[in-house]
C-alpha cells in the first residue's frame, strides 16, 4: 500500500486559535502522508488536536479566530489547501475530500428532507439532471443499506434512528465518490450493535470504492479492527505514527504503550486486578512544559525530557516516527541513537 505515492501530504500543520486567554496552539507541527486506499487512524484523548487536524484539512474552522501557520502544507493534487482561497475549497469539499461527523443529528439539517441534503453535493459538483440526481441519491441510500430508500429519501432526519442518520451522513459523504473520506468519531454516539453495522458498512464501501480514509476515534478496538496505520496524538503533537500491528505489538512511545495497557481486555478477566492507569492529566495547552509534553505522566522520564522537547524522528528507518528521547520496545539501535 505504501508503494503508491501518497494522495494527501500534510507537513508542519500548525493551527492556532485566538481566545480570551490569548493565542493557543491546538495542532502543533503535524506531518503525515495518506496513501490511496489506506485507512489512517488518528487516536488520542479529548483536546489532543485530532478533530482540529481534520477540520484544518477541510478548512472548516471559523476563520475569524483560527490562524493556520504560513509554513503549514496540506498538499492534495498539487494544491496547498492550507492557504487555498474559499472558491478552491468549494471544489474540494464533497468532491475530493468528504467528512462524516460524530453526531449525525446535529450534522443533518432538521428542516430539509434527506433527499435535499443528498442532492446538495450533486448540484454543486455534477451536471446531472434533476431526475438523474434523485436516482443517484436513491442508489447511494441503497449502497449504505438503508431500508426502503425510495420512501426514506422524502423523510426528515427526525424520522430516522441514530444508525440510519449515520448511514445518511455516509451516503452524503460518498455521493460524489471522493478520493478521501474523513470520519470523525463516526460511531461514538451509537450503540455497539449499531456501531458494528456502520463499521461493517464502512469496510465494505472502502473495498468497493478504494477511498482513502482518515478515521478519528478514541476507541482502540475500532482502530485494531479497521485501520492500516495509526497516528497517536498528545497535546497537539503527533507522538507516534506506525502500522497498526507494530503499534499494538511494540508501541515505541511511552504514552502509546500506557494507553494500550489502560484499556480493559475482553475475555481476560482477573479477579480484582487493577488497570495500569496513566497517572495525572493532560497538560493545559495554555501552560505547556518546556520539554516533552508527556513528561509529568511518563514512567520513563529523565532529565533530558524536562530540558528538551524531542523531535518526531524515524530513528531506525522503518517508517515509524516517534517523538521520544527514550522510546520503549526498541532494539539496541535506539540506545545508540539516543546516546548521540
Amino acid at each position: 500500500m505504501t508503494t503508491q505515492p501518497p494522495i494527501l501530504t500534510v507537513r508542519h500543520l500548525t493551527t492556532r486559535f485566538r481566545t480570551d486567554r490569548g493565542v493557543v496552539t491546538a495542532v502543533d507541527d503535524v506531518s503525515f502522508d495518506l496513501s490511496p486506499g489506506e485507512t489512517l487512524g488518528i487516536v488520542g484523548e479529548s483536546g489532543c488536536g485530532k478533530t482540529v487536524t481534520s477540520k484544518s484539512i477541510m478548512r472548516l474552522l471559523p476563520s475569524h479566530v483560527t490562524i493556520i501557520d504560513p509554513k503549514s502544507e496540506i498538499m492534495l493534487g498539487g494544491v496547498n489547501l492550507a492557504h487555498a482561497p474559499e472558491p478552491v475549497m468549494r471544489t474540494v469539499r464533497g468532491k475530493k475530500i468528504a467528512m462524516i461527523f460524530q453526531e449525525p443529528m446535529t450534522s443533518l439539517n432538521p428542516v430539509f428532507r434527506i433527499g435535499w441534503q443528498l442532492d446538495e453535493a450533486l448540484k454543486q459538483h455534477t451536471d446531472l439532471s434533476r431526475r438523474d440526481r434523485r436516482k443517484r441519491a436513491i442508489e447511494m441510500l441503497e449502497l449504505v443499506d438503508m431500508p426502503n430508500p425510495e420512501r426514506r429519501i422524502d423523510e426528515y432526519p427526525h424520522q430516522l434512528s441514530g444508525g440510519m442518520r449515520q448511514r445518511v451522513m455516509i451516503a452524503m459523504a460518498l455521493i460524489c465518490e471522493p478520493d478521501i473520506l474523513i470520519a470523525d468519531e463516526p460511531t461514538t454516539a451509537l450503540d455497539v450493535t449499531i456501531q458494528a453495522q456502520i463499521l461493517d458498512l464502512m469496510n465494505s464501501l472502502k473495498e468497493r470504492l478504494n477511498t482513502a480514509t482518515i478515521l478519528i476515534t478514541h476507541d482502540l478496538g475500532v482502530v485494531a479492527q479497521v485501520c492500516d496505520r495509526v497516528m497517536v496524538m498528545y497535546a497537539g503533537r503527533v507522538i507516534e505514527n506506525a502500522p497498526v500491528r507494530d503499534l499494538f505489538h511494540t508501541p515505541h512511545h511511552p504514552y502509546a504503550k500506557a494507553l494500550l495497557e489502560s484499556i480493559p481486555k475482553a475475555g481476560r478477566k482477573q479477579q480484582g486486578a487493577r488497570l495500569p492507569a496513566i497517572k495525572g492529566i493532560v497538560p493545559s495547552l495554555f501552560d505547556l512544559p518546556a520539554g516533552c509534553r508527556f513528561q509529568d505522566r511518563c514512567a520513563y522520564k529523565q532529565q533530558r525530557c524536562v530540558d528538551v522537547e524531542p523531535e518526531l524522528v524515524d530513528r531506525d528507518g522503518t517508517a515509524r516516527p516517534v517523538r521520544c528521547h527514550f522510546p520503549v520496545n526498541t532494539t539496541d539501535l535506539t540506545v545508540n541513537a539516543t546516546g548521540q
Binding site: 450493535t193 449499531i194 456501531q195 478496538g221 475475555g267 480484582g272 496513566i278 497517572k279 492529566i281
Partner: protein, 325 residues
Amino acid sequence: MTMALLEVNNLVKHFPVRGGVLNRVQRKVHAVNGVTFNVNRGETVGIVGESGCGKSTLGKAVIRLSEPTAGTIKYDDTEITALPHADLMPYRRKMQIIFQDPYSSLNPRQTIAAMLKEAIRFHGIVPRDQMDDYITDLIAKVGLRTDARDKFPHEFSGGQRQRIGIARALAVKPEFIVADEPVSALDVSIQAQVLNLMMDLKEEFGLTLLFISHDLKVVEHFCDRVLVMYLGHVVEELPCQDLHAHAKHPYTRALLGANPIDDPDDRRPLTVLKGDVPSPFDPPPGCPFTGRCPKVRDVCHTAMPKLEPVGEGSHRAACYALDDA
C-alpha cells in the same frame, strides 16, 4: 450462600405518555418490565445494555429515586418498596448513587466542601467539630488535592469531577452504591484511574455496587456478575468470568461479537444484527429481541420466555432457543 443485601422482585417501571385534548394517558413506555435479581453483600453486579434498555431506570428505581410501578424491593431484609418518606431516610443514607455526567449532577454555585457538608450534616455523620477533618480526609481518599475543598465544580476536569461525585456518595458512609455509567464520559486514561479508585474504595469500605454501563469490556473487568438487559427485560445473568465462554442468549452473544477486539492480528467480521432496537411504547407480547434475533422461532412471538437457570451456579437466561446454542 451469602445473604442478599438487595432483593428485587418482578420490578416494573412504566412511564405514562400523556397527550390529546384531555391530557389522558395515551400510551406507556415500558422502561423496566418485570425484573428479578439479587445483589449479595460485598458483590459488584453489572447491568449492561444499549440505550433505552432500561438500565438507568432500573438503577434509579431500586434506590427509589424513581417510584416503581409494581414489584418489590427488599434491602437488608426490609421491604422498602412502599416505605413512607420519613422511614426511608436511613435507607437514603445507606444507598447512594454516582451519575454519568458529574458536571450536571454537581451544583455549580456550591464549593466542594459546602456540598459535602450538606449531606454529612443532614444525616449527622460526624459531630460539627470533626467536620473539617472528615471532609479533608474524604477529599484525599478520592485522590484530590486538599485545596479542592474551596473550589467550584467548573474548576475541575471531567475525571476530577467524577472523583467529587464519588466523594459525595461516600460522604454519608453508605453500604450500597449505584454507579450509573460512572466512566463513560471520561477519556480512556482517566477511565482507568477512576475504575481503580472505585475498586480501592470498594475494598476499603466494604461496599456493595450496582454498576451500570453500556461498555461490556468495562463491566467484565469491574464486576463479579452481569445482568444483560434488552428493552426492559433481563435476558441473561451470569458471572463475569464466564461471559465469553458460557454466555448463551443470542443477544449477549451478539453484544460480545459486536465489540471490536483490540488486537490487529485477530480481525474478524463483527456480528452484525439487522435493524434497530424496537420502540419501548406498548411492545407486543413475546420476546422483544425477535425482530433482530438470528435464532427466532414461532414460540418467541407468543410470550416472553422466563429467566431460568442454566446449568449450575448463578447463570440464568431467558430464551426458547438456548438448547441449540
